[in-house]
Symmetry: C2
Subunit: 149 residues, 2 copies
DNA sequence: TTGCTCCTCACGTCACGTGAGGTGGC
DNA sequence: TTGCTCCTCACGTCACGTGAGGTGGC
């Protein structure tokens, strides 16, 4: 039985919490590689007051994505940069598609509702115009007690 | 004055028309590089019956795109491959956005038209239902010659 | 024959990763 | 003091481009 305790901490994914050795281990990279990536502008960790790099959860995830592209796909850093940019653009566009689809659905429903409303008011108008006719008939056939004018 | 004649030929952009030396010159690449790219699966020119590579206009454009990524951006071929794939996906998504926008506009117009149609038919109904009312009034105020029932 | 094509092999260059080496502050 | 951090420099490896070298068919 292991005596190791597992501690789960919930922190803002953008908050710098890991020093370079930890971030490197989490991303399965050499610490020096992380420094190099920063110099190349691929990653921008926070810094402590003393100048120590502090990587956030989001930073580590980005590093793992980079690691995947370089190690598994064999891409160089210029390619990684371009791909990260394109993926971001693609994600934005995908969100736009979803937004448009939702909007179209809402528009359709709204229009349906308005059509229904118009139809209902039309029926109401028909009733209103029938009612005076009926009232007239009643007036003529059955004399009411109170009769104005 | 130059005696060089400029000939403009219009051909299917997917038809193989350039031999490797011409394609290489148009793409500003070394012929050997084109052979390498083919081996790597980045480009797939047609072949003549004798086995000579025949590059289409589309092939040349693709080569120029690759040239831009490798020479200008310094990307390696793994990155080029990934970027080409992502750009294709992005383009498809962009077309989808345009399609959705057009569809939404058409839907809006169509719904507007239907609403208008319902309103018009409603007005028609009102007129039709007012008419008998008016007739009743006339019946009461001015006795008609022919009176059914 | 000339100039292209095809192919394979090999080498130079450059990017990238990583290790060494020296420094400084919890 | 130990173990981390910071930095710069340098070297090994590998991908890529390109040249050489030999072949064959319009």
């Amino acid at each position: 039985m292991s005596r190791r305790r597992v501690i789960t901490a919930t922190v803002d994914s953008d908050r710098g919490v890991f020093m370079i050795s930890v971030a490197a281990e989490l991303a399965e990279m050499h610490p020096q590689t992380l420094r190099m990536y920063e110099q190349r502008g691929l990653i921008a960790p926070k810094r402590s007051a003393g100048g120590t790099r502090l990587y956030s959860q989001a930073d580590v995830e980005r590093l793992r994505r980079i690691q995947q592209m370089t190690a598994e796909l064999g891409m160089n850093l210029a390619g990684v940069e371009k791909v990260l940019e394109l993926e971001e653009r693609l994600e934005r566009t995908n969100r736009r598609v979803e937004q448009l689809e939702r909007r179209a659905e809402r528009l359709r429903e709204e229009m349906e509702a308005r059509l229904e409303e118009v139809r209902r008011s039309q029926r109401a108008e028909i009733v209103r115009y029938q009612a005076p006719g009926t009232a007239l008939i009643h007036q003529r056939v059955v004399p009411r007690r109170s009769n104005p004018t």
